[in-house]
Amino acid sequence: MAYNLKEVVSTKPARFTSGHRMCAGCGAPPVVRHIMRALKPEDHAVVGVATGCLEVSSFIYPYTSWTDSYIHTAFECTGATISGVEAAYVSMKKQGKLPKDGETKFIAFGGDGGTYDIGLQSLSGAMERHHDMVYVCYDNGAYMNTGIQRSSATPKFADTTTSPAGTVIPGKAQERKDLTKVMVGHHLPYVAQTLAMNNFADLYQKAEKAIYTEGPCFLNVMAPCPRGWGYPTEDLMKINKLAADTCYWPLYEVVNGVYHITYKPAKKLPIEEFLRPQKRFKHMFKPGNEWMIQEFQRIVDERWDELLKLEEVTNRD
């Protein structure tokens, strides 16, 4: 059945409800709500969330925005925490300690700090041990919860509070880690990169596949942050679309090692289109800093070309 946003929203009640305290214009809540909607209504889920914006804003005692079972333990161990829950499920189900009917699904959410950096070991372990779970990284490219510090997901030149655009060093000096590829290296049944655009179709379909593919699956979802990136709150969806159209954030999936690019822009836009609306890149547009934009474009082009090649190579007979 073809995806239809109106139908999804009208037939599936939100499992991540309103009343949370995420910022206006934050990319994470619509992403989380839509991923949760990809669950079958009859299935129960246990959600794990790493310490971060999503966690401190969605379960402030005694209120929660989650209608499914939920657990937060600490920053760096959501992969391990959910793997423990899943192991309990497998064990108790096998012993007849849980009802036979219905399924429980296991979904972990972490920001880029809790996933690319401090939580990488825990995530890697959980994936390698092949727990039946989905790990979702909502990547806003910095430690936003603590006040916009650089992470290994922060793009080169971005102005953050620990990589400020100074007079000697112009923002973050290093390129961003390609976590999606790191997860592909774990030989998982399903790895995908996506964001919210075009009525959330790509996001929803990938979430559905990840949740209902047996074994460990990983979704990397770009989720812009108005405070950290410096864009007007109402422009969230525009920023998302520009990330896809400039190929800064390619939309693709890797199914058992085979790459499929799920969105190829008809016209690949120059990277300035994505950079210009964001204050974190403002210094790149000062006269004399053209080299930064060129360098950024080079990185985007190299990574996009590599992806096209991977798609080609892995789809050969």
């Binding site: 209608t67 333990t73 161990c77 899943e86 064990s91």
Partner: protein, 397 residues
Amino acid sequence: MSIRERLSGNEATATAMKQINPDVVAAFPITPSTEIPQYFSTFVDNGLVDTEFVAVESEHSAMSACIGAEAAGARAMTATSANGLSLMWEMIYIASSLRLPIVLSLVNRAVSGPLNIHNDHSDAMGVRDAGWIMLFSENNQEAYDNTLMAHRIAENKDVMLPLMVCQDGFITSHSIENIELVEDDKVKEFVGEYHPEHYLLNKKEPIAVGPLDLQSYLFEHKAAQAEAMKNAKQVILDVAKDFEKMTGRKYGLFEEYKLDDAEIAIVCMNSTAGTTKFVVDKLRNQGIKAGLLKVRVFRPFPVDEIANSLSHLKAIAILDKADSLNAAGGALFADVTSAMYVNNKNVPAVNYVYGIGGRDTKSDDIEKVYNDLLEIVKTGKVENPYRYLGLRREGDK
């Protein structure tokens, strides 16, 4: 009929775990506790238990996975030592604050640095205020028995706290001794099934665990944890009574060895108590009224009971197998003397930090402590309450 066996402390612990048959074990190798997950995974792979064994990539993940499993509604167990516990430290606090009755076998070893794999109690002392019930074991039999009693204590509705069973690395964990095992069916009946009130996998009642808990609530939640720790004391005694009915082996909050009529006594934990009993017997033969108080339940700390038990003595030595590096003595010393003070019991007390990094503590060393106590009784003076035992000084050979 109980089963007579010869097992090391690690084997005894793994055997107890097999008989308990927990739903999940998540563990990571570290000397000297490594054998516990090793033995246990052979039980798993040979189909002797129903457990899911999660071979995690670190101790931090071991405790995280135990928290996830226990919150999910399962019985979860793990084992570790020293730096493994240090790496778990963050999650140790989270486990107790979430009121999850996880059971951990702690095979005591020196915490780095520098690196040392041998026994002392610095690992346990590093988590003494983390909200875990802490039981210490003199030998393999006690490590086994304490493990069998652990879930009944931890899972009690008035308690709901995690529990660690401590034993001395190598000295107990790797020494093969005679042991009496309880039959499988009796253990099963004694430990019982775990039926948590609220758990993640109950889809009829979705719950949220681990909130952001701010100024309006955290204080009350921590106070509730403290209350549960107080409740644990009676539960530990009740469970010990049932255990005695099953096995004939009697356990209290601590063991008094020839303490009733003693004039001088040592307070210590774990395997040193065995050496001390030997010395007490020797001194008794010489007409010296020596005694021992061996702490079994270190958390909750039996403040009044210990103070009363020591109140008649003329001098006491408290032995700490971990230095607090605070210029004010070890942790057990601070707890015992504080207990005495608040109970208005004034007995001269002296502290010995000993056995650090596996330094052997011989009967001669223990005898020296009793001789020092005799000197204190004679002079009525404690020259320096913060002492070392078995420390090589400059110029010593």
